[in-house]
Point group: C2
Chain length 223, copies 2
Amino acid sequence: MPPDLNLRISPRTVQRETVDKLRLAIFSGLFQPGSRLIESQLCTQLGISRPSLREALRSLEAERLIEIVPNRGPSIPALSWEVATAIYEVRELLEVEAAGRCALRISPEQLRELEKSLSAFEKAASSNDSLAQVMTAADFYSIILANCGNPILEEVHRGLVARISFFRGRSMSLEGRAQSSLAEMREIFESIAAGDEKAARKASKQHVLRAKAAAKISMDNGI
Amino acid sequence: MPPDLNLRISPRTVQRETVDKLRLAIFSGLFQPGSRLIESQLCTQLGISRPSLREALRSLEAERLIEIVPNRGPSIPALSWEVATAIYEVRELLEVEAAGRCALRISPEQLRELEKSLSAFEKAASSNDSLAQVMTAADFYSIILANCGNPILEEVHRGLVARISFFRGRSMSLEGRAQSSLAEMREIFESIAAGDEKAARKASKQHVLRAKAAAKISMDNGI
DNA sequence: GTCAAGCAGATTGTCTGACATTCTTGCAAT
DNA sequence: ATTGCAAGAATGTCAGACAATCTGCTTGAC
């Protein structure tokens, strides 16, 4: 048997398209936290039927990107600082582990990719487009997580980061946050490039802690 | 205003009932890994309509308890040892952290609950009911995770453990596994009761590693 | 004027039925 | 035995319907 060409690309279904569209809409902050989503409105806006929409909503509910209260319908959860803290703590746990492992096993090609994504963030950081900053930063982590050798670590991390996308956008717009974030990410990159596990862990931990602190500030300002 | 009695219990909807029923069915090993689920069959078996069923299936898909391939429908994923390893590794990361935190902050009442659940497992361990063993063991962890002070840690852990329920059932039936598992859990309990964070972490790590080894054996036997 | 009760509209939860598209399987032909 | 095709099965998606529930506003009582 030839080594599984795996050419079967999975067809895009309405359900999946819808999940992707809504997820992106949530990331971009299109919906106010706490606001309710009306099924009929979304159906007409997306041009799909209610059953398809409801399936998409159930997926997002399971991802904790929306909440669905029986007889009240879907809404964007208002993230409390308590929960946000908990997410940052677990994110730290996972990201530190991933960075450490990544430093030991990343391939030269992937290292170049990582460098490229760092450059992309550098460019975004000097602009004022905070959405671009969040997106390029996400690419950077994503490469690290993809090269840590543990797909589950990657999967769980992605799920958690998705849930704090709200804060990430806001704190990136903080005075000087993008620049210091860049410095932290560069240090992570250098450690990984040097294959220094301990340094990578340390830099990664530092980065998450600072991101959390920035999120706290932006939250206190924001309300 | 009285301190929010929160008496509003959320109504049981068909969708949620169905998710619970199917989840339980999967845990009990009612479906063969790799086997496909036929929507129309499930509908008649559960006495519900196809839209409701499909919503439930989307929830389970997002929990990674089933897979849905477009145009092929839902099936029980066959867990590879590679993925199982990854899950055990992340589980270790989370569970060790939780046990350590739990040792520092658990309340006397909750500690009694933990002791009770340990006794429950002890009883189950001396029987041959491996489902009861898995269930009572799950209660034990569940109390630890509920008292680690981080609801996200708890949530993520629950999701991961759900995905390896298949192995847990099989490895519990292994000769002597229930008894050694009991010994390990007792050590975790003692460490937590003593408020010894380091010991709790160590015992917890040991426990996950042994569980993983047992799962490996049962898997190699099983195929 | 404030508060409670109640009614009308809006929204969700669920079902039935339908149909095109895509897999799967068994049979026929080479 | 392998290939190709056709019938059947299963899924993806939609439209429409109706009861149960929630929401907001009006009305009425104090």
